[in-house]
Subunit: 129 residues, 2 copies
DNA sequence: TCTTGAGCTTCCAGCAACTGGAAGCCCTAT
DNA sequence: ATAGGGCTTCCAGTTGCTGGAAGCTCAAGA
């Protein structure tokens, strides 16, 4: 199967699929004309990767997860560990963003947003801590 | 004032300050020996930038905010607009992360995390949607 | 005075994860 | 024969720095 159809089926842009081959996440065969020839297993892998990426896993995590997926002797504890670490990172990011949100929304609420130059947002940014 | 002291005072790495000069956010003078010579106003600007960055504003937003800060004829509505747009982006990111968190934490909870290969996390990643 | 070490300079490369574009081959249909 | 769409590679750019190498400057100590 050519890259265009794979792109549709796996839900990934062709560019991304080529990139994933570049970094060794998939290894499609090649036809005589030089076109990539994807097997069902390649498409399956790509869909797996796409889904893992929507969970926010890094490419390296994706590589690990894919390896585990293909390893019959894996222990679910290994998978769980990767997922938990990622979950912790997500939590931290949410906390960061929430703190940004809270500070900033206070400032936005305090700003008149009119034609006058006076602005608590700028005042806060400029303040000496 | 040399870059080292400015770095401490503004709370930004020297590398970052040089980078900010590169992209035109600050324009320190130069001493005869070629060293950057920062005025108080430069330090003030850098601290402003540092604080804006902790709020998660992009560099381009920071540039805009700095311009507004220095523009006596600004209207606070302009500042508020930038901040509100950023706030909306933050909200969106939080929503995304929360959705990731929710799905993933369910899967993590469902995973035994033992020595056996069976794993609902991998099962989910591999499923056909 | 010479040397040593810290601090400064520039420039180049690399991170993550793609994305866009150019130049050019391949295949099918008219 | 030619037009088009799909495929190929390679290079550059995105964001916001960060690390490192090579080399100049300055102040202090032997």
């Amino acid at each position: 199967m050519n890259i265009g159809e794979v792109s549709e089926r796996a839900g990934l842009p062709a560019k991304t699929i080529r990139y994933y081959e570049d970094i060794g996440l998939v290894r499609p065969l090649r036809s005589d004309n030089g076109y990539r020839a994807f097997r069902d297993s390649d498409i399956h892998k790509l869909a797996f990767l796409g889904r893992a990426r929507t969970f926010g896993f890094s490419i390296e995590d994706c590589r690990t997860l894919l390896d585990l997926y293909e390893d019959e002797t894996r222990e679910s504890a290994q998978v769980k560990a990767v997922a938990q670490e990622h979950l912790a990172a997500i939590d931290e990011k949410i906390a960061q963003l929430r703190s940004m949100h809270d500070t900033l929304s206070h400032l936005v609420d305090a700003c008149h947003g009119d034609h006058r130059p006076d602005c608590p947002i700028l005042k806060d940014l400029a303040k000496e801590p």
